[in-house]
């Protein structure tokens, strides 16, 4: 399930919904990303997440489909917020459920690595009177590259 939204999300409710009434799902791996005051305590006043409406949902749905295709998962959840957020607030929730923990953990790490490099979001940080766009990180590219397979290569090159 994919949700791209401005409002906050309830982690407990979202994760519980993934396995409600189920007795065949043993593992729920999840990740919460928070706005981090990288400039030091009190330095970052806000971070605004801009995104590309339409393409975001499309990329996230493809990401969900790839994870479900690649691991023996029951469900995938990606919630990504946009808009102006304060330090400490929630940005993203990824989760993967499975019978076994290995698939859930791997899929969840995969979702985050790909979100960092494939989801059309951009971050504007406000530090004091200055606002600057956060640059993409090479180590995020490297992290995403470890999931590359022939199939995902092909998919990436599709028009």
């Amino acid at each position: 399930m994919i949700k791209v939204q401005e409002q906050d999300f309830d982690v407990g409710a979202e994760l519980a919904a993934l396995t409600r009434g189920r007795t065949d799902v043993g593992a729920v791996a999840s990740f919460i990303g928070l706005v981090r005051d990288v400039a030091g305590p009190g330095a970052l006043s806000a971070m605004t997440l801009e995104h590309y409406p339409g393409m975001t949902e499309r990329q996230l749905a493809q990401l969900e489909a790839q994870a479900l295709d690649r691991w023996p998962l029951d469900r995938v959840l990606i919630i990504h917020r946009f808009g102006r957020l304060q330090p400490g607030q929630q940005i993203v929730l990824c989760a993967a459920t499975s019978a076994h923990r290995e698939a859930a953990f791997e899929a969840c790490a995969f979702l985050m690595d790909w979100l960092k490099t494939k989801a059309p979001f951009w971050k504007l940080e406000e530090v004091g009177d200055e606002a600057h766009w956060v640059a993409a990180r090479q180590d995020d590219e490297d992290a995403a590259a470890r999931w590359q397979t022939d199939r995902s290569e092909t998919r990436e090159n599709e028009s």
Binding site: E50, Y52, M55, K118
Partner: protein, 83 residues
Amino acid sequence: MKLLYFSWIRDRIGMGEETVQPPDDVATVGQLVAWLARQSGGHAEAFADPAIVCCAVNQEFAKMEEAVGANDEVAFFPPVTGG
């Protein structure tokens, strides 16, 4: 052709969206970038280094060789920073 700009690409061009009619010899993303760079000082600044500009055609990532046509939605943006 509908164009969308995001992040500092939009800031430099000064608008988030425009509709353009490039000449017939603009058939790929790379040719469109070269043509757009000549349209204004802001465009020139935004596309000064095409190597750091990403493109999506109809909401899918596209390389510079990719074909573009009059009915496409083409977006330009810096490398993404989601998650």
